[in-house]
């Protein structure tokens, strides 16, 4: 059973925000879903995860990209910089 406090803590970690009125239904649904996930405890222990696929690496090459102005134009920008909330 995950408590409302724990749901609040995870919401904080995930930066999704959570309203007081949403907390009880979110916690209830969250626990119902975790109960369902308990079926994973029955997964037979194997040799561990082996995907059978390999990484393919390539040389790092410079290729054409989108113009900077066009991409920055999507953000709230000021004097050529992206404006972001305060970090300190």
């Amino acid at each position: 059973m995950v408590s409302e406090e724990e749901v609040l803590r995870i919401a904080e970690l995930a930066d999704i925000g959570i309203g007081q009125e949403e907390l009880p239904p979110f916690t209830r649904d969250f626990n119902a879903i975790l109960d369902y996930f308990a079926v994973l405890d029955r997964v037979p222990a194997g040799e561990g995860w082996e995907s059978g696929i390999a990484n393919v690496l390539r040389e790092d090459e410079v290729v054409a990209s989108l113009p900077q102005e066009e991409v920055l134009g999507l953000a709230a920008a000021e004097d050529g910089y992206i404006r972001a909330p305060r970090v300190m």
């Binding site: 995870i10 995930a14 999704i16 994973l40 997964v43 953000a75 972001a84």
Partner: protein, 431 residues
């Protein structure tokens, strides 16, 4: 901009109606191809069904959009979807639910519900959808059209807004197998910008000859939760394949027991990381820059993300958090390996697997109120995504007037074989 159902779009199949012109004559000349709203279109708003991307206009086209425009397709608009693809009904759209053309009080299925509704109602001849856990096949089944989730790595995802990278693929939807096959042919051209892509283009082979083809029927595909009338309809369709010369083989897929849980742990974990980019800084409605980072970030996300998106981010963050990683994510990957092994074992003996696409027909809008009951509807479609194998849904009649889909699953890179069996079935029942 006005959103929701309108006179031009009574089913709310589109989030944005916009005529994106073709770039050249080709095999799609004169054909309309609707594009799901999580696939980037240069100069045309791309919202992913989310308020958090309202007003976002991509500066580039997705590779698949390039390909269809170069082949002469006209794009009539961007189709409605569950927010970021998270849902099985298109009710989770930030712009209102899409409606099923067969019965507007019912869901289209999801998450590519707008694409399916657009094609089934004739607003577009073909459509592109995306399928992370059934999002092409489910709405194809519910709206009575053909849809293919291609083999993982067969269609470039450059320009697709990511939700769960290890699972999702872009794929074709159309009213006929031939159209679906043609669109798959066009979109499967190599693109080095998707590092998971392999240069193995789809080569259509629709001759309808399935004599001697071995088709496996795992008992679990007709297990608990599958509506008996739907099961009956699908068994009759398999009977048609048998009459056409296919050899039907009984089988089992024990990993189905935990496939759905493995899927939801995996997709929510990947989503919790992918969706961190929606912070109101680089695109979408801006955050309040005068506030502290976390406060501003949370404010913009609580306001513009719907409840299902926030629920999945929450579950994924939990599944990856210290102390729980082994219990959830680690176990889910072990379960995923069992799903792959089950397919590998089955495909040593048979060429295809057949069963229902969805356990039921389309439900009433608002009919599933708790998230878990919605998740359970995906039980038959998620295994193909976990293993990366191709799977299609082809219409196989109705139950109480509502369409039922026959799901055909094949070996990786044998999408052609699935489409040929679907074609054989379609031609046989049409004749």
């Amino acid at each position: 901009m006005a959103r929701g159902a309108s006179r031009q779009d009574p089913l709310n199949a589109f989030i944005t109606l916009a005529e994106i012109p073709p770039r050249g004559p080709g095999r799609l000349s004169g054909i309309t191809v609707a594009v799901k709203d999580n696939i980037s279109t240069r100069g045309v708003e791309t919202t992913c069904g989310s308020r958090i991307l309202e007003g976002y206009v991509p500066p580039y086209d997705a590779h698949v959009v390039d390909l269809i425009r170069n082949e002469g397709a006209l794009i009539p608009g961007k189709t409605n979807m569950d927010e970021f693809g998270m849902g099985s009904s298109t009710e989770n759209s930030g712009f209102g639910p899409a409606r099923n053309p067969r019965d507007p009080e019912r869901v289209t299925g999801g998450s590519s519900g707008g694409s399916a509704a657009a094609v089934a109602s004739g607003m577009a001849r073909m459509a592109l959808g995306t399928d992370t856990g059934g999002s092409i096949r489910c709405p194809a089944a519910f709206c009575g059209i053909v849809g293919l989730k291609p083999t993982y790595g067969r269609v470039s995802r450059y320009g697709l807004v990511a939700y769960a990278n290890s699972l999702e693929q872009i794929g074709p939807m159309a009213t006929t197998v031939a159209d679906c096959s043609l669109l798959m042919d066009v979109i499967s051209r190599y693109d080095p910008r998707d590092a998971t892509m392999q240069n193995r283009p789809y080569l259509p082979r629709l001759d309808g000859d399935i004599k001697g083809m071995r088709i496996g029927i795992p008992a679990e595909f007709f297990g608990k939760g599958v509506d008996p009338d739907v099961a009956d309809r699908v068994r009759k369709a398999i009977g048609v394949l048998e009459e056409l010369g296919a050899v039907i083989v009984e089988g089992s897929m024990p990993s189905m027991e935990y496939a759905l849980a493995a899927y939801y742990v995996t997709c929510t974990s990947e989503a919790s990381s992918n969706l961190a980019r929606f912070d109101g800084v680089r695109y979408g409605p801006p955050s309040d820059y005068k506030k502290q980072w976390h406060e501003a970030f949370q404010e913009v996300r609580i306001r513009h993300f719907g409840p299902e998106v926030r629920r999945r981010i929450l579950i994924g963050t939990f599944a990856l958090s210290a102390g729980y990683y082994g219990k959830y994510y680690g176990k889910a990957q072990a379960a995923r390996e069992h799903v792959r092994e089950d397919y590998a074992r089955l495909f040593r003996d048979v060429d295809l697997l057949a069963g229902p696409t969805m356990p039921t027909v389309a439900w009433k809008i608002g009919g599933k109120s708790d998230p878990l009951s919605m998740y359970l509807a995906d039980i038959l479609t998620v295994p193909a995504n976990l293993a990366g194998v191709p799977a299609a849904s082809v219409p196989c009649g109705t139950v109480q007037g509502l369409p039922v889909g026959l799901q055909l699953t094949g070996r990786a890179f044998e999408d052609e074989l699935i489409m040929n069996a679907a074609y054989a079935y379609e031609q046989a029942v049409k004749a």
